[in-house]
């Protein structure tokens, strides 16, 4: 004998579960680590309870029938014909799961987009700093060239006139000989 057992996605993220409940149109109230839904069964309101790292749905196994009775009257004849009109616990959880997974995927995509933006922003800042550093080094080198030439020229008796022509530094050195 063999069996195949499947579970639904564990509801780990509270905010996403609440959004999923909103999406399936299920109202709820919060009570500490419980999300109490508007769904009712024999034992009262069905709820999600934080248990071993996930929100576990607690309900009475006869809930579907009692809800059916609430909607359609006491155990009716021919009830099977109307059964699909009410969302069973299983289909409710599947609907919540579907929305939860959709919201989860969107959240992941959003986080990935933000992450890439951050990386791009960090890279942009790094490149700007690199460009600034290179530019400062170039200007510093040119200034060093200029100062060195001026100093040597003065030591050799030249008068120095400095001009800025377009992007060039022009030094005119003059001295008189006899």
């Amino acid at each position: 004998m063999s069996a195949i057992v499947k579970t639904i996605t564990p509801f780990i993220e509270k905010e996403m579960l609440l959004q999923a409940l909103d999406c399936v149109g299920c109202r709820y109230t919060l009570n500490h680590d419980q999300i109490i839904t508007e769904r009712k069964d024999y034992y009262g309101q069905q709820k999600f309870v934080w248990y071993k790292g996930r929100y576990s749905f607690q309900h009475d196994s006869s809930a579907e029938l009692s809800e059916f009775n609430r909607r359609w009257g006491s155990y009716p004849e021919g009830w099977k014909n109307n059964w699909k009109a009410y969302q069973s616990v299983n289909s409710f959880l599947q609907a919540v799961e579907k929305e939860y997974n959709r919201i989860y995927s969107e959240k992941l995509a959003e986080l990935e987009r933000i992450r890439l933006e951050k990386i791009a922003e960090q890279e942009r800042i790094r490149l700007e700093q690199e460009m600034k550093r290179i530019e400062q080094e170039r200007l510093a080198y040119i200034e060093q060239q200029k100062q060195s030439i001026i100093q040597k020229a003065k030591e050799q008796g030249y008068s120095v006139q400095e001009k800025k022509v377009k992007n060039k530094v022009k030094l005119i050195l003059r001295r008189n000989t006899y």
Binding site: R138, Y141, I142, Q145, K146, S148, I149, K152, A153, Q156, Y158, V165, N167, K168, V169, K170, L171, I172, L173, R174, R175, N176, T177, Y178
Partner: protein
């Protein structure tokens, strides 16, 4: 009294162009070299008429010295 002029241009990449006026012979190269030495590899040297005027004078002087 003679005026000696050296015009030095440093472009935005740090390249240097130097030209002399009123300095004859190899002395003009020596003057430039003393000023820009260590600021990059030499790309080209173009000698003007003044450069060769200086050499002619030197040769002439040497010849006169030998005769005397």
């Amino acid at each position: 009294m003679a005026e000696q002029t050296i015009i030095i241009e440093i472009d935005d990449g740090g390249k240097i162009k130097a030209a002399t006026e009123g300095i004859k012979g190899e002395m003009c190269l020596d003057e430039i070299q003393s000023l820009i030495e260590g600021f990059g590899e030499l790309h080209s040297v173009k000698k003007t008429d003044e450069f060769f005027q200086g050499q002619t004078l030197n040769v002439t002087n040497k010849i006169h010295s030998r005769i005397e």
